[in-house]
Symmetry: C2
Subunit: 218 residues, 2 copies
Amino acid sequence: MASQTEENYLKSLFNLANEKDEVNISELASQMQVSMPTVNSMVKTLQKNGWLIYEKYKPVTLTPAGKKDAALVIRKHRLTEMFLVNKMGFGWEEVHEIAEQVEHIHAPKFFERMDEMMGFPTIDPHGSPIPDKLGRIQEINYLSLTECKAGQLVKLAGLTNSSTEFLEFLNGRNLSLGTELRILSKEAYDHSIVVSYSNHTSETLSEKVCEKLLVKVM
Amino acid sequence: MASQTEENYLKSLFNLANEKDEVNISELASQMQVSMPTVNSMVKTLQKNGWLIYEKYKPVTLTPAGKKDAALVIRKHRLTEMFLVNKMGFGWEEVHEIAEQVEHIHAPKFFERMDEMMGFPTIDPHGSPIPDKLGRIQEINYLSLTECKAGQLVKLAGLTNSSTEFLEFLNGRNLSLGTELRILSKEAYDHSIVVSYSNHTSETLSEKVCEKLLVKVM
DNA sequence: CTACATTGTTAGATCAGTCTAACAAAATTG
DNA sequence: CAATTTTGTTAGACTGATCTAACAATGTAG
Ligand SMILES: [Mn+2]
Ligand SMILES: [Mn+2]
Ligand SMILES: [Mn+2]
Ligand SMILES: [Mn+2]
């Protein structure tokens, strides 16, 4: 059974392996906030336990077992976040830190019960998909708000970044998942976008914000 | 901040320090299921951190800070057990193992929210008192069933042992906290007791069971 | 292609938490 | 009280997870 540390490495590896599938030692070190020698020794351990493939001087790759176990940790994390928001009344900006700890609890029934109580949700409070019990993850293809055209009506469905600061910024603007946005105009110079939604008739969103907002065209 | 290991030692120390207040190294070693040298080195650490007082060859004593922090871990444990039973539908025999892990989560709001959602309970699912936010524990003085007399009507209010096996035994007899028992007779030879309750007209409980049942005389 | 920068590895140390073996102090018991 | 048992300590080792310093391989850019 994976230790807390190993579970955290698996999660990072899984998240870094989007698209490229391979992960460099240095990437992993910076993601995990540890030194490269630390990663070097840990990848040897993870390999010994069958979670990844490693060859000297080569980037590492998760094995199918590694991918599955990583997804199951992510499942615990996201179920927890959803439970904290839906059943315990936390704000979406408060739950990540708690889930970072709760995800390491070894008690399948605990998470199954959360799942059940929430009616088997498929996304977490930040719009990210919750892997199923077998570690399968449903890929959702949302558009970034930057890719949308003036005049379009879109619905906020996900985020590419869920830092507390960004979530608090969105709270301050009354933006939450499900909010329908009308794109009023796009500024060619700085790529900012003017939108209207709810009782906000004209809100300007910078490119930095827009690229982090994932939307579904209505 | 206490590590998981330290928190577990504090809890054990607190529980062993009932009455006597002092705890022997060997008691603590057997409680924690580690060797005496391990305890020896750990008590030095705990002393260095201000949680206990230790002198070579003497039993150890928790400091006020040690008692408080121990009680706060026990608070997290018992709030969790109550939450699992009351809000998540677990049986009282399933919750201890999960709480043993959840008690180490460092997130005050998480436990405060549980507390709030349950209406600030004062006992856990096994009848043990839940320490308050300042680590104060309300001592309740129940009677053991062995101390009761024939003819008395008593209510099951607590247990001196909450092992899964014992809880499953009680489940099998339909005995739960709050059950009112009429003591029909006491057997002088083996100290077993015959009781009636709910739709059980005559159930014999061995001394081994009776001494673990804490009751309130009605 | 050589030089320099980047990336990765090795060696060796540290800290927490654990162990066993050997020994020492304290308690018990005849 | 002396012998024996029980309890506690010391020494030394190990594992997991981390670090820094030194070095080696790989990649890049003139
Ligand atoms: Mn998260
Ligand atoms: Mn984590
Ligand atoms: Mn318990
Ligand atoms: Mn515990």
